[in-house]
């Protein structure tokens, strides 16, 4: 005797891979989005992003020599300079957050307090450049900053060694838009396959009397639901692997698959079909159930941080986004796959798992197995 749950999983799976439109929505469509959005937002300016903190202020205005140095740096045309306020006590953390938000490289140049005075006194002055050695732009960027420094020193003191550029290595993850987008596309795909999968399968199987027929066999409602969830897990795993592979092959996105990723895939495969089942229960007619599924998934996609960072949303939307289950799946996937931040990944995974248990239980309780 083959297990009933296995039979249900394999039935769903066969129906899936034999349907061109299912394959399109779960595989081809996400890849298409990646190429599209990658092309639109991926290639930013060719200038290097460089954060700059000038600590050498006097009465809130930059000192003479520090300002001169910045002007020369700017005149090279090689940099997009982003100013870090001088009063920022932890410029590195500031840069990290701001760079992620705007998808910039994390590099910081610090002109220390007393720079002007040191130069005037004829002593050697130091400028610090914080940069990740693994940053692909690091070599050329450091090269340009170095030559700017040398020529500036030569100009002001006729002594090229007068200014010292001290390079400090930092570990960053240089987050490009595409790195941000790939986990979002995964989250979106899990969302749509889960919600629509549950709404459509349960709807059409009910209409075709397949559920009624199954209810006259020894199969239980729980087994049926487990079968559906198992199928969703397989689909979610396929989506994840295909999208990550594609992201790596085309855009060089490197991701780490860890325990949190697994937890999130499990959570998503319970959460989104659970939401779909709750929906299908309230909206009985197949067509309106489909409309309801659209009405739920679209706002989630746009506000849940699929296409752009939630930090860029208006405040009220940020609050709404906090109530969207997709938010936690998306954030969790980003922290787990791309940012490699286990603590954050864990928090989001736990929230997602909590929401998942809630919705799958609610959906199961609400689903009529027998009487219509």
């Amino acid at each position: 005797m083959r297990s009933r749950i296995y039979t249900i999983i394999s039935g769903h799976f066969k129906s899936w891979y034999r349907s061109k439109s299912s394959i399109f929505w779960t595989i081809a469509f996400p890849l298409l989005l990646i190429v599209l959005f990658g092309a639109i937002f991926g290639s930013g300016s060719t200038k290097f992003d460089l954060y700059l903190q000038n600590q050498d202020l006097s009465a809130n205005t930059p000192t003479y020599f520090s300002q001169g140095y910045i002007t020369v740096l700017n005149n090279t045309g090689a940099f997009n300079l982003h100013v870090v306020p001088a009063e920022q006590p932890d410029p590195l953390t500031y840069v990290k957050n701001d760079a992620q938000l705007h998808n910039r490289g994390q590099r910081l140049l610090v002109i220390p307090l007393g720079f002007n005075a040191t130069v005037m006194s004829g002593k050697n002055a130091t400028i610090q450049l914080y940069m990740d050695q693994s940053d692909q732009a690091s070599a050329s960027l450091a090269g340009i900053v170095h030559s700017v420094t040398v020529s500036y020193a030569a100009a002001i003191a006729k002594a090229p060694n007068h200014l010292i550029l001290q390079q400090v290595g930092i570990v960053t993850k240089n987050i490009r838009y595409i790195d941000f987008f790939i986990p979002g596309v995964i989250g979106m795909t899990l969302l749509t396959t889960g919600v629509f999968g549950a709404v459509n399968t349960n709807g059409s199987y009910r209409e075709l009397k397949i559920i009624k027929k199954l209810a006259t066999t020894p199969l239980s409602k729980i087994e049926w639901i487990l079968g559906m969830v198992g199928y969703q897990m397989i689909l979610a795993t396929i989506s994840l692997v295909v999208i990550l592979f594609f992201g790596y092959a085309i855009f060089g996105v490197t991701a780490t698959i860890d325990i949190y990723t697994v937890g999130l895939v499990v959570a998503a495969s319970l959460l989104f079909p659970g939401i779909g089942m709750v929906l299908a229960n309230f909206v009985k007619e197949a067509e309106s159930a489909d409309a309801a599924a659209n009405a739920i998934t679209f706002p989630m996609m746009f506000l849940g941080g699929t296409f752009w960072p939630r930090e860029t949303l208006p405040d009220i939307m940020k609050i709404i986004a906090n109530f969207m289950p997709l938010t936690y799946v998306n954030d969790g996937l980003r922290y787990a796959l791309i940012y490699a931040e286990p603590a954050q990944a864990l928090t989001n995974t736990l929230i997602a798992l909590g929401l998942a248990s809630f919705f799958i239980v609610l959906g199961s309780v609400l689903m009529n197995w027998k009487e219509e």
Binding site: M1, R4, T7, S19, K213, K370
Partner: protein, 319 residues
């Protein structure tokens, strides 16, 4: 009509289905109203009635899909209202729900195995495919089949656990005459294998052709039960002599002294026959121009039974 035999040991009974004063109300709507009947092992039982009569409601109570609001029902000796008994019933019944479709993108064979896997033991898929005559289609996806073939897949699926009783809810509704005949053929095969079959239908000819016992249900109540012959003898009325295509003209040409004739179906003359009158009538007809017409004697059918009992006829669509 209800006989109050004590319930025999579960699973051991020759009384495959026992229904006693069963009722089902949906709010104020009484869908099934105090019905009683029994179904004996090896019998083909037809539950005959128009749309909305309460057929599906009754069948689904027996399949443990709905709860009765009154009365009792046993299937294979088990009580349909007891949870622990329901599990036993589910193992041993075969069900073809009304308007059932199998899974579109699975093949005939895969569908049979899919539903078969829900049971502990399943019959060999190929044998079932042979039984319903779908050998050339067994690797075809369900959605590509015609209506008649789909219904035969449904039949195979309903037999997959080698059930002790099969419930077929309107298995031929919406099929063309040819496809209906094919489904009848399958049901006849089941009958010859000694299977107990509970069939619902609104087709009078179907019940007459297939059933050992017919119960006619209307507005939730059983209005007559018996073998088709018994029903026809009791409620069918007289045999009729039909003279085809005779028209108004023919009516005038009829000899004197015949029972009152009427015109039916655009031009057929129908003359009710009393016992022993046939020879006389034929001899008197031989003297008229009508002797050239096509003449036949029609036995009453279940249509006439239903008409006589309710004053209505049931249309092709079941209304």
């Amino acid at each position: 009509m209800s006989d109050n035999l004590p319930a025999s040991l579960p699973g051991q009974s020759d009384r495959v289905v026992q229904v006693d004063k069963l009722s089902k109300k949906y709010g104020d709507n009484v869908a099934v109203n105090d019905i009683s009947f029994n179904l004996t092992k090896g019998e083909v039982f037809a539950f005959l009635g128009p749309n909305g009569a309460g057929k599906t409601t009754t069948v689904e109570i027996l399949e443990c899909l709905r709860n009765p609001t009154g009365g009792r029902a046993r299937v294979l000796g088990y009580d349909v209202s007891k949870r622990s008994d329901q599990a036993q019933i589910r193992k041993r019944i075969g069900v073809l729900p009304q308007d059932f479709n199998a899974i579109d993108r699975l093949t005939v064979r895969e569908n049979i195995n899919y539903f078969g896997a829900m049971f502990k033991h399943q019959l060999d898929a190929d044998k079932l495919i042979e039984l319903v005559d779908l050998k050339d289609k067994r690797d075809e996806q369900f959605k590509k089949l015609s209506g008649g073939l789909k219904q035969r897949v449904g039949l195979a699926v309903s037999l997959v656990n080698d059930p002790d009783v099969v419930f077929l809810d309107e298995p031929t509704t919406g099929l063309d005459p040819r496809a209906r005949r094919d489904v009848w053929g399958v049901i006849e095969r089941l009958k010859s294998q000694g299977k107990t079959v509970f069939l619902t239908t609104h087709y009078m000819d179907e019940a007459e052709y297939l059933a050992d016992i017919v119960s006619i249900i209307d507005h939730g109540q059983i209005i007559a039960s018996g073998t088709p012959d018994q029903l026809i003898d009791t409620h069918g009325g007289k045999k009729t002599l039909i003279i085809r295509d005779a028209g108004e003209e023919g009516l005038k040409q009829l000899p004197q002294g015949l029972p009152k004739a009427e015109l039916r179906n655009a031009g057929d003359i129908a003359i009710p026959l009393h016992n022993g009158e046939l020879t006389n009538i034929l001899m008197s007809l031989a003297q008229t121009p009508l002797h050239d017409k096509e003449i036949e004697v029609r036995r009453p059918t279940l249509d006439d039974v239903f008409l006589n009992l309710t004053g209505r006829r049931v249309s092709e669509e079941g209304n």
